[in-house]
């Protein structure tokens, strides 16, 4: 004799929903009947980090929608509508907690959640410290050697913002954003309600990546040194940790493993130059990754050869770690990487650098990509974004 489950009390229907870990399942559960829909909140607040989507430039202009590559749903392309105001005049330079970080030319900062289509403004970055805006599209840079050279806005975009990471969704009350700006040298943060960004006095050079973990921001430089930044109080407190073992490689990423471990991921890239013009890059492709875990007691980065069931997502986004067993069709012990070159907005030939690196055998599986050198419209470069309903 079959039982009608809508007879369950409301709080049990809600408890069932609270046990659901994947957002798509949550949405489909709410679509079952009126009784479930009214017992289960519209916005789930309990979900663990979801499997990231990859924003893919489709190379087609005049799109009102942006394509997202979903690793799970038979690797299908999803399309989400993005308001024109958001997509047409902004440059994508980061992604954290499901929100995209977009720059206006002014330079204003807009946060956009592609899932909920909500947007949020952050204070603009102040004038670039060593650059003068010459006209609408060009900057004159004075570097420390006294050299002066010109950069286009697009070139500035590629180099000015290295990374932006958040403590949480911008909708939460204790939201803090940390940015690595001015070609990796300056750290700036802003808390919810701040009208300007606050600079953290010069701590390290060549900052490569940052993450938020346990109320603190961790920032790594190209050699593997870590700055631990506490911005909870009125002024920032920074301590520098210099682990034994200097890092090589072309990019460093910090990842919170999800098992309370701090991981360092080093990316090695093969760059090929044009035969005729030695300044022209014709190919920029990742060759391999190495992964290390922090041994705090020494301190020391220790090489690890396997991630077990974990998948790491790195690129311009705030790094993410997920368990493959939570998501059908996904492979553990892999690093899913998106383009992180310094010329996403520049005219460089070749495809974007995207793929899946398998630690088991060091092989790379390519993800669908397209030519970097695109057309008139400001298509967003590929970046991982975690679907977040909050």
């Amino acid at each position: 004799m079959a039982v009608d489950w809508t007879q369950l009390p409301q709080e049990l229907l809600k408890s069932i929903a609270d046990s659901i870990k994947i957002y798509a399942d949550y949405l489909r559960f709410r679509a079952v009947c009126h009784s479930v829909r009214s017992s289960v909140p519209n916005t789930p607040r309990h979900l663990p980090p979801q499997l990231p989507w990859l924003i893919l430039p489709t190379g087609q202009s005049d799109q009102y929608k942006t394509a997202f590559f979903d690793l799970q749903i038979a690797r299908k392309l999803q399309h989400l509508e993005v308001p024109d105001a958001v997509s047409h005049w902004t440059f994508l330079c980061g992604s954290s907690h499901g929100w995209l970080v977009l720059l206006f030319q002014s330079p204003g900062v807009l946060l956009f959640n592609p899932l909920t289509r909500a947007s949020f403004h952050l204070p603009p970055f102040s004038a670039y410290s060593n650059a003068q805006i010459v006209n609408l599209f060009e900057f004159e840079i004075n570097d420390e050697m006294g050299e002066i050279y010109m950069r286009t806005f697009r070139e500035m975009l590629d180099s000015y913002i290295k990374k932006v990471v958040f403590s949480s969704s911008p909708l939460s009350n204790n939201f803090v954003a940390l940015a690595i700006i001015n070609q990796c040298d300056i750290l700036a943060y802003c808390k919810k309600g701040d009208l300007t960004w606050t600079l953290i006095p010069r701590t390290m050079f060549c900052c490569e990546d940052a993450i938020y973990y346990n109320d603190l921001f961790y920032v790594v430089d190209k050699h593997g040194a870590v700055a631990v930044c506490d911005v909870n109080g009125a002024s920032p407190i920074v301590s520098i940790i210099k682990p034994q073992l200097q890092m090589g490689g072309d990019h460093q990423y910090l990842v919170n493993s999800g098992d309370d471990e701090l991981l360092l991921v080093t990316r090695y890239v093969d760059v090929q130059y044009d035969d005729v013009d030695p300044n022209k890059i014709v190919s920029y492709k990742t060759a391999r990754f190495e992964v290390f875990r922090m041994n705090w007691s020494e301190p020391r980065w220790e090489r690890i050869r396997s991630l077990g069931d974990r998948m790491l997502f790195v690129g311009e986004n705030s790094s993410v770690s997920c368990l493959a067993s939570d998501f059908k069709g996904c492979l553990g012990n892999c690093i899913y990487f998106a383009d992180d070159s310094d010329f996403k907005y520049n005219s460089v030939n070749g495809d974007y650098d995207l793929g899946i690196f398998k630690l088991l055998d060091g092989s790379i599986e390519h993800l669908p990509s397209c030519q970097r050198n695109f057309r008139s419209r400001n298509d967003w470069p590929p970046i991982w974004v975690t679907p977040n309903p909050c």
């Binding site: 369950l8 049990l12 408890s15 079952v32 009947c33 059908k328």
Partner: protein, 153 residues
């Protein structure tokens, strides 16, 4: 040696008048029963009019297994997995009973089992599994689908 409460027996009666006698240590896995014991209301047979005999026996079996110190971690895991291999009617009864009797570990496992049955399923499949009637109009369904089309393909 067991605890000081070892000799006390708790008597329970299901909705279909079956009686069960269990040690207090087993019974107090249920927060509801624990409160009654602590309040001194557990001296006579406790009637449980919303739990039938079949389900009550299952719940008590679970509680017994969880106070048994001879059971290893692996054995317990296997027991729990086999335990939840039930048809949807029994699962429903178990969910209601675990909630009413407030047996936290059991409730969590049942909820997780239900969530696993929902995983990866379309709404019409979920309805079929749980015997739920679709009471949305076609317009309502379309509206729901369009809100998050990517999840409904």
């Amino acid at each position: 040696m067991s605890s000081s409460k070892s000799n006390k027996i708790v008597k329970l009666e299901s909705s279909d008048n079956k009686t069960f006698e269990v040690e207090e240590a087993v019974a107090v896995q249920s927060e509801t029963l624990k409160n009654m014991v602590d309040d001194g209301c557990a001296n006579d047979t406790i009637p449980l009019p919303n739990v039938n005999g079949k389900i009550l026996e299952m719940v008590l079996g679970w509680c017994k297994k969880h106070v048994d110190e001879t059971v290893t971690g692996d054995e317990l895991n296997k027991y729990e997995a086999d335990f939840l291999d039930l048809d949807q009617a029994d699962l429903y009864g178990l969910l209601m009973a675990a909630n009413f009797l407030n047996v936290k570990g059991l409730l969590d496992r049942v909820l997780q089992r239900v969530a696993d049955m929902i995983k990866g399923k379309k709404p019409e499949e979920i309805r079929r599994i749980f015997n739920i009637k679709n009471d949305f109009t076609p317009e309502e369904e379309e509206e729901i689908r369009l809100e998050n089309a990517w999840a409904f393909d």
